[in-house]
Symmetry: C2
Subunit: 171 residues, 2 copies
Amino acid sequence: MSTILVIDDKKEILTSLEYLLTEVFDKVVTLESPETSLQVLMQQEINMILLDMNFHLGVNTGSEGLFWLEQIKKVHPDIPVVLFTAYGDIDIAVRGLKMGAADFVTKPWDNDILLDKLRAIMEKERKMKTLEEVTEEHMQKAIDKCHGNLTSAAEMLGISRQTLYNKMKKK
Amino acid sequence: MSTILVIDDKKEILTSLEYLLTEVFDKVVTLESPETSLQVLMQQEINMILLDMNFHLGVNTGSEGLFWLEQIKKVHPDIPVVLFTAYGDIDIAVRGLKMGAADFVTKPWDNDILLDKLRAIMEKERKMKTLEEVTEEHMQKAIDKCHGNLTSAAEMLGISRQTLYNKMKKK
DNA sequence: AAAAATTGTAAAAATATTTTACACCATCGG
DNA sequence: CCGATGGTGTAAAATATTTTTACAATTTTT
């Protein structure tokens, strides 16, 4: 069971997406403004959010969209949010992605590309790395940063040199 | 000791950056084309890369820049790469960031903003999380994804329920 | 309401980590 | 060029963590 929440101030966009997104999601919830989004997120389980950046006609800085992205990420850091915008503003895109958005789609959009992106995100969400994989990767990162010096890498990681040494030998 | 590698096909940009970047880096290495970048990375320790996206005048898709980003990330996934572009192409920015670029700067650039971004990245690079912090965060993420169900979160993480239960109790 | 799943708890067994130790090798500075 | 320093590879005992197993109580699902 997967649900997507779509937030856009244009009714016609909501209705067309409502139909399209059933290709990927079991349930599509729509909102005309982001104001009540936090309540909706409390009331029901949402697996993905499609958030428009351009509320308030005439105000197209996208900053209100970024504000709501921030609010959402604060409470639900793990729900993937895809940003949606009619204006090719590179700065908003970069800031959005750095604030934790999962992807960025520009309007007018290509249905297939949009669906592919959403599917890819769902797929990535489904699998969660094991603790072992995560620790392994992080240890490797530390070793790289220390140019192979196990002693200082171990210190960085807050573990003993032996442990790091033994784990590296194993692989 | 920190070194930045700047790759841009315009000599005047290289010379002006060469001077500016000494504000943040001890050493600035410049390249007029990305072709030899991998050799340079093998020969000396580089701590950050500023990579222009628009090589070959007339070809401004940025795809060659993305190609080189990919090559660099393949060999050195942990060296932060900042993308640099004269064209506000949102798609290149999004793809670049998703491919692992640390940030994105558009030309013409503001010196102070550029320096601030580079400083922020260096600062972030300096500190490395301990293994404990990383595992803690990952466990929390799994629990969130499982809506608080410790049994299935533990299964996802590849550890026993007890271990997860005890670690959560500790905090 | 019954069945199934999850929690909270505990204790022993199995593993993993830290600590301590030491010979060996590399690199750096005088 | 040689001694000092710092890192490696190895090992064994002490300590800590994780897994396994178990069971009653509670929550969730059917």
